[in-house]
Amino acid sequence: MNAQGERLTVEQVLALAPDAASRAAGTRLALPGPWSGTGACSTGTGGRVLWGECKGSGGRPYRTVVALAHADGPAYQCSCPSRKFPCKHALGLLLLLWAEGGDAVPEGAGPPEWAASWLDRRRQRADEAASGRAVDATGGPADPAAARRRAERRAARMTSGATELEQRLTDLMRGGLAGVRDAGYGQWDETAARMVDAQAPGLAARVRDVASVAGAGGGDWAARLLEECALLHALNQGFLRVGELPEPLAATVRSRVGLTSDAAAVLAAGPLVRDHWLVLAQRDSDDGRLTTRRIWLYGRGTGRMALLLSYGAAGRAPELCLPVGMSVDADLAFPPAARPLRAVLGTRHAAPVACPEPPPGGDTAAALRAYGEAVRDDPWLEAWPVVLAEVTPVPGEGELGWQLADASGGSALPVDPRGSGDSLGLWRLASLSGGAPLRVFGECGHAGFTPLAAWAPAQLPTLVQTPLPTPVPL
């Protein structure tokens, strides 16, 4: 399945950390000093288990167990009181495997009693869950009629929500945007809350986006606000007449309004696309309640782009973690959409391997063309993932924003000022480039380009200037 029986790479371990503070705390514990009674062994099912006791500030050491056999990533147990998950002790234990040439965690005959009992309980729970799923699979939903009634009730609520939102938008047009500019977020918040009540989270999120455009100001705020309102209006209209739309577009409208199917259903429905998926970039965003992890993939055989999403509750890292720069032989399922991009990760057929070359790319005009074609299918698309083959970053100066300039031809893409990660991300890009063209992966949208990873130009002059195969996250 996945890299069972292997050590997780340091990147993979650090990506499990819920936040930067845990990452730092975990790395500080990646030394033998505070640890005692560490050990590792293989389980009967081919997985690996690590355990150890870590001295904390109190008298009694914390007992930490990590099981690496889990299909969705490692499982952890620690006696510390931290609510972070995984806690710094679990991270430290995983990183400890890299310390002192590996001697810090010796191979043991079997876990001590305290670790074994947790593993047993976990196995029991997994067995129960598996048998529960088996019943579901054979018996189907407990009561299909009740499920249908629930779905109909929700559809009715969403329809009335969309109708109400339409009313608000036309009222806004009648009264004029100038009036809402100074009205603040209050009325938008209320509208967003109404959409949450109507079980249309997609509409609620778009309302909040409209509010942020209204609040951001700037010279062309009215035009941008009108664009957002008009697209929201188009989504409402699409949903209210979803039955008249051709199927892929209808699916896009449904998912954009907030009707999504769960990962298992998507995988079951297929079709599965098996490819060597190159992991291009990973980025986490946190809105205070939820951590959203985006992982961008490029299919080396199919040439397809894919986007995996994974969520974690506040303080927890999303579980899905793929090593950036590596290639994973795996199945993906794309839910139906007018322009499929989001995907669900299915079976991984082999451990990730190093990727010999970066993906091919185009120039800035090709990037905008790719976005334009995608928008033709899905008008609500903000941006589309593309690779720019050879661009040179031009730092912003005063009012002028950053640009990525084509190596030849005098054209450039403006960098989207909203999405440049931490403020140093663009400077990292400039530093990697050193004034020379380099290959950049990112999202190209109507507000500009958001760089997500770059491949440093080869350091030594070679006959062919091939980029180094490792992308650097920005």
């Binding site: 690590l50 191979e107 009264g175 391997v353 350091q459």
Partner: protein, 570 residues
């Protein structure tokens, strides 16, 4: 222009031709006040038609976007031919730089990464590595916030960081402090000197001074008359490096400068040159102030002091500030300035004794002892005279002066002694007086601490614990010990981290013992981390065990490494 599929957005032919500006104007004012240029479908109100038309225009605009004209691309960064950091060290640097932002609070038993960055940078520079390009911005940011990091950080960052600093005004400091990085080519220096900003000129001058002291002085002299007074002071300061008698004519001329700060700087530099005319003039003046007082048998019994009665124009020209600071008497102030600026070699002959030690041992008449010794100490520091520094410091086990006592600053005198002697003196001091006054003395000792200093500090901490103190009373020294003890001492310290065995070992240990165990735990942890960091910086071929493939994407990739026996751990 790409065509929309007609089902995406409902629209009419009229709507699609409407002007965008007209739509925005109507939306801004409201369709009640201004009619938009759209034709509603039957049964549709004008607001709905406006939204329809706007949606079509929006999607059409987004689908047909074209690139913009590129601005001028920055010129190429200079090449950096130094070898890259080994992978593990690269990762460590990333972690140390990230640790800067980690939240504070009680430190517990884990090492303080921010305190280890300076020595990591110094060690990496000793190996001659270059920093990875993607970490340069973080490195520049770290050094911007902490000026103590700048020299080493900019050395590691190299020419590409200066290239970056020219693009980002936030990093301007690097141009000032880092321009000396790399070779100081005299022609290059001349160009910068003629055309550069003040910071770049100062850096170019300092860099040239290090490689060709005379060329730097001539460069400064070539534009001396046109420089502003405050710039003259700063530039003159740069001559402190590589100072020699060849600089004397220029400095003598600067003694007549219009600006007082320039005169004072020139005088201070000249007095550090024992063979200079200024120091001869000072010697003449100082000689008149001290005389041997002989006993009946003709031996020298004490020093007689006749402090100056006035500060004449000659003294003032030679850099003596006529007005003493508040609380100091005029005569004692002038005496101090004269003796401080006079060559120490003058005194044994003048006082009729064999050397520094005998001179310092002589009693001083009329309560002038403290003033005289403070002035000698100043001279010893300025002239880097180890014999006088040693004599003035005295034996380490003598009762120390109260901290902040005027004049004699043992830390500054210690800095004049050779490193080994420094460590021995401080070790004796710590053994005799404990740690409470040792902080500044420890600060001037070479890192890592040589034995017997390390042992003396650890023993003193151990005694402090036994005496019932709390570790935070010694947090300053603890922090220094974490950074400065030899990492190889970690094993010896391990025993200190264990709690004293109680009747029940699971009982939560309250009070000082637990905190001490934690503090020692952190000390040992930090020393081990420093040892690890040292190993990581070894060039790949010398590492004891190759932990990761040398090449390959993004670091130690377990999956790419052939699994060792046991897979998870060897």
């Amino acid at each position: 222009m790409p065509r929309m599929t007609s089902t995406t957005v409902t629209h009419t032919a009229a709507a699609s031709s409407a002007s965008w500006a007209g739509l925005v104007a109507a939306a801004l004012l409201g369709t009640d006040r201004r009619t938009p240029p759209v034709t509603p479908r039957p049964g549709q109100d004008v607001a709905g038609a406006l939204l329809d038309a706007a949606a079509v225009r929006t999607v059409r605009r987004r689908a047909g976007l074209l690139p913009v004209a590129a601005r001028t691309v920055p010129g190429p960064a200079p090449e950096d031919v130094r070898p890259p950091l080994p992978e593990a060290a690269r990762r460590r640097l990333e972690q140390l730089l990230a640790g800067r932002a980690a939240p504070g609070g009680r430190r517990g038993s884990t090492p303080d990464l921010t305190e280890l960055l300076p020595q990591w940078l110094a060690a990496a520079n000793r190996h001659g590595y270059r920093a990875p390009a993607d970490l340069l911005p973080a490195l520049l940011e770290a050094a911007r916030a902490r000026s103590d990091l700048r020299q080493e950080a900019l050395a590691l960052a190299g020419p590409r960081a200066l290239w970056l600093a020219r693009l980002n005004p936030q990093w301007k400091y690097a141009l000032r402090e880092g321009a000396g990085v790399g070779v100081a080519d005299p022609r290059q220096a001349q160009r910068v000197w003629r055309e550069g900003l003040f910071a770049e000129r100062a850096a170019a001058l300092a860099a040239l001074r290090r490689t060709d002291a005379a060329a730097a002085r001539e460069l400064l002299a070539s534009t001396w008359a046109e420089e502003r007074a405050e710039d003259r002071t700063m530039f003159l300061d740069a001559l402190g490096e590589g100072l020699s008698l060849a600089d004397e004519p220029f400095l003598e001329q600067a003694l007549g400068d219009r600006a007082r700060n320039v005169r004072a700087t020139a005088a201070a530099l000249l007095s550090a040159l024992p063979g200079s005319a200024l120091s001869a003039r000072m010697a003449e003046r100082a000689r008149a102030c001290l005389a041997p007082g002989r006993a009946g048998d003709g031996t020298v019994a004490r020093i007689l002091v006749e402090a100056p009665h006035e500060c004449d124009a000659g003294m003032e020209r030679d850099g003596v500030e006529p007005t003493p600071p508040p609380g100091r008497g005029e005569r004692s102030w002038w005496l101090g300035r004269l003796v401080e600026a006079a060559p120490l070699s003058l005194w044994p002959a003048r006082l009729g004794v064999a050397g520094a030690e005998e001179a310092v041992a002589l009693p001083v008449a009329d309560g002038w002892r403290a003033d005289l010794h403070a002035a000698w100490a100043g001279a010893a520091v300025r002239q880097h005279d180890a014999a006088w520094a040693r004599a003035l410091l005295g034996p380490a086990d003598e009762p120390p002066l109260p901290e902040g006592a005027p004049g004699l600053d043992p830390a500054r005198l210690l800095a004049v002694l050779p490193p080994g002697e420094r460590a021995e003196w401080v070790a004796e001091f710590v053994a005799a007086h404990g740690l409470s006054q040792a902080f500044r003395l420890l600060g001037v000792c070479a890192v890592p601490w040589a034995e017997p200093l390390g042992r003396a500090v650890v023993d003193a901490l151990d005694s402090a614990r036994d005496a019932g103190g709390y570790p935070w009373s010694f947090s300053g020294v603890m922090g220094l010990a974490e950074r400065c003890l030899d990492p190889d001492a970690a094993g010896r310290l391990e025993v200190l981290t264990t709690l004293p065995a109680g009747p029940d070992e699971t009982e939560v240990t309250a009070g000082a013992a637990g905190y001490w165990a934690e503090a020692f735990g952190r000390l040992v942890g930090t020393l081990r981390l420093r040892a690890t960091m040292r190993t990581e910086l070894q060039p790949a071929a010398q590492q004891p065990a190759a932990r990761q493939p040398a090449a390959g994407p993004a670091g130690p990739l377990g999956a790419a490494t052939p699994p060792r026996a046991g897979g998870c751990s060897p």
